[in-house]
Amino acid sequence: MALTADKVPTRARRCLDSVRGAPGRLASRAGGSPAGRLRDRLATWLLACLALCACLLLGSVGLTVAWESWPVVTEIGLAPFLLGTTWMPVDFGTGTSFGILNFVLATMAVSALGLALSFCVAAGCALFLSCGARPSVRTTLTSLIDLLAGVPSVVFGFVGLVVVVKAFITLGHPSGQCVLAAAAVLAVMLLPYTTSALAETMDAVGAQCLRASATLGVGRWHAAYAIVLPCALRRMGPSLMMAFGRAMGETMAVMMVVGNANLAPRLLGKAETIASLITLEMGTAQAGSLHMSALFGAGFTLMAIVFVVDALALAVERRAARRTAASDSLWLWGRAGAGLVRAWAAVAAALAAGCVLFLFGYVFVQGAPVMSWDFVTQAPAGTVLGTEGGIAPAIWGSLWFVGTALVIAAPLALACALVTVFWLDGTRAGRAVGHLMAVAAGAPSIVCGLFAYAAIVRGMGLGRSVLAGGAALAIMILPFIEVRAEKALRDVPRDLLQSGLALGCSRVHVLRTLVVPACTGEVVSAVALGGLYALGATAPLVFCGGVAFAPAPAGVLQPAMALPLHLYLMLAQGTTVPQVYATAFVLMALVLVCNLAVSGFAAGRRRRWLRR
């Protein structure tokens, strides 16, 4: 529920209230006491410093990847690398060749197909949420679908393996693993992003047109079909392209389901995406070898494609913003069309809700028999590791990793969001930062792990540790938190800031006393969701600090186990599948509890803010 201007109490009164409380603060106006001005200036510089650090950190990841992949240009040549189809990085007597065309095509094919499938369901679902649902139904369904955003990608891969791949095998496919299966899993993972983006677009169009059409006596669903849907479809390009970037960077879930074979992508054939290539082969590449440079080159190609797609999205968005809504209505097939769309919306919403309920229900039902208090409090044991004992060190390890990641990422991301929204809004620097965040969000998470390995594990000599793993996770979640925090800050009415500034208070003072308290709930939920995202990440930890066996961590300089990594390794074991379900159960339970806590907190803060 957006914080609209008419719900906020008198702006001037609020600002005066905050200033009245401490007499010394009145002096912090321009021209007031030097101590107050110095404090505000220090605060501004601190924010700017942190924001700059955030951008430099992300930029240095990109630069490191570019630097490490330079040998590709000098020793392999760009054309053979980008257009070749043979990939034989290790010389078994038949020479080496590095051609990534199949991988690039496979990545784009899986992402595009996944996005298309997701869009089909998301459009109907968003229409239902925006035009057809009562507010209570809407909030429930939205929270339900948002739960999907917190589920770890390893769990998606695991459920995809046991459900989707098995379904393909029973339907006659030889191995079950194919591009279509991967696209189906990816579509479910992208649902929350596509649905929310489309719902927002539809809300914006609806706010413009639905009231007018109701006045003219047009039925709700007729208006939805004839006006909202066509307008939204024409404006969905940018948000879809952002989701495309996210899809391209997806590693674990796709890797477990796509088959991993160097073939040109076909619908029912196996393929290998760039992210899976890097994850599977980084372990064998010797540091400084051409193989390693080729893998970095593949990662850089991926980031370049995301950059281009994002730039296209921005250009399209700017062109679309100049068009008026009036020219976009459509009345194809008349009433029958409206009825079909209504049915499609209901089916899509039911399908989306069904996916979420099935995912959670399946894992809980399968994992419940193995779950016990001992499972959560003991270390893994047994002559075949994991068949006895529990996952306690993994739970503690995950908490340490997430804590370290949040301590590093949250201040950087929040400072970056504050500076972008309140100092750089509308400037080229602000747009550049937005671009940087979009590209960073699309980078495969394993690239963050590689950077942390090079910088902390080897560079600083700290070895595999929670700090290195936490740093890798921090780089991964920084754009995630920043984008959400930016959105929360932009939703705060501009009048608040402007009335405060008009009264002569410094910008930092207004931010601290008015703007941030207005959106604390959303900002905290952005940080908490970032933490959940870090909780579910596997790929960055493999080289940095995640291990298969360790005692519960006692400091940041030791390696630790992590829940999603433990799940993946247990799955690879093959003999401990019931324990895998139970580990997934614990992960999903954490996701559920955190989401409920965060949305409860956000709702509580909003109620308190509005009551004052």
Binding site: P174, S175, A429, G461, G463, Q573, G574
Partner: protein
């Protein structure tokens, strides 16, 4: 006309650029000094006792080492109980997977104490390591396995036929055995970071390369599971993974290679060709703490764990 003052951000950027230049200049001077900040993982400490041991590498060996690490920690808790000369510090043993390739590179980098491998060390790796010690724990063979539901009547394949199947020259089952239907052969292999890939390439494939349509699996047990899930699959499941998969009823069937069946006797004697050592490698001499754990690995407990994980121990316990 009054010139607008620079924004804080612009001023900060300028300051930062100056700082960056200064740091770069200082860094250039400092880089002349050799990097002695090598992570201290090996046993050179005279004063510092390292209570942690880090293993890294093969996905075949890490379950065994992890299980032994768990039971070692449970049994002794602190180092002085395992060896009276060691101080009273908590035992921490870390085991990281990643593949044989990761094991060697981590050992070379110095980011682990022992690298676990499921293959022999290559010549260039031996040179890079310098002074190293090999501790061979078990032998593993690569079985050429098909799904138990596959009605193939042949139970013996020659190395040439196997190479042709894995390279894609024989692509349907009826080309291998005329009594079978014309189903495409689903080939399952290990990924490049696994020692198994290299072993198979050297002992079976020779000059041929594995077909592009083969599915890579990240570990042996995943490979075995993949073959068990697919009636027309063939793959080189490890002996350990093969036994583990068949523990609750036969799901995989191993074919003879050149007339030799993969059994414990033929593997230990070397008659079965497609085999590899499973071992861990350390640089220099182990510290007393590391030696305590190594002795535990090569004890009767270790032998039992190796056998229960489906491998063939290549040592006899000390007592």
């Amino acid at each position: 006309m009054h010139r607008p003052a620079a924004t804080p951000l612009a001023r900060l950027l300028g300051l930062f650029c100056c700082a960056l230049c200064a740091v770069t200049l200082m860094g250039c001077n400092a880089q002349k000094a050799p990097d002695t900040q090598a992570p201290e993982t090996q046993a050179e400490q005279t004063g510092d006792f390292k209570s942690s041991v880090m293993f890294c590498g093969s996905t075949s060996l890490y379950p065994i080492i992890s299980s032994l690490a768990g039971s070692f920690t449970d049994e002794y808790v602190t180092w002085d109980k395992a060896n009276a000369e060691l101080p009273d510090k908590d035992i921490s043993i870390y085991v990281a997977p990643g593949g044989s390739g990761v094991g060697v590179s981590a050992l070379e980098d110095g980011t682990c104490d022992f690298g676990m491998l499921a293959r022999d060390l290559k010549d260039e790796e031996k040179q890079a390591l310098g002074d190293y010690k090999v501790y061979e724990v078990a032998k593993d063979a690569l079985t050429v396995s098909v799904n138990a539901q596959n009605p193939i009547t042949l139970d013996d394949l020659s190395t040439d036929t196997i190479a042709q199947i894995f390279s894609g020259e024989l692509s349907t089952w009826n080309q291998v055995d005329p009594s079978l239907p014309a189903e495409p052969i689903q080939v399952f292999i290990r990924d490049l970071s696994g020692g198994a890939y290299e072993v198979f390439q050297k002992t079976v494939m020779g000059d041929k390369t594995v077909t592009d349509t083969a599915t890579q699996s990240a570990s042996m047990t995943e490979l075995a599971t993949n073959i068990a899930n697919n009636p027309w699959a063939i793959g080189y499941a490890g002996f350990g993974a093969y036994n583990k998969a068949n523990a609750d009823g036969q799901v995989l069937r191993a074919l003879k290679v050149d007339g030799v069946e993969p059994t414990e006797q033929t593997i230990v004697s070397g008659e079965y060709k497609i085999q590899r050592p499973v071992m861990f490698v350390g640089k220099g001499d182990p510290t007393p703490a590391q030696q305590a754990f190594i002795d535990y690995v090569f004890s009767q407990t270790g032998k039992e764990v190796v056998e229960q994980n489906g491998y063939i121990p290549s040592f006899t316990p000390a007592e």
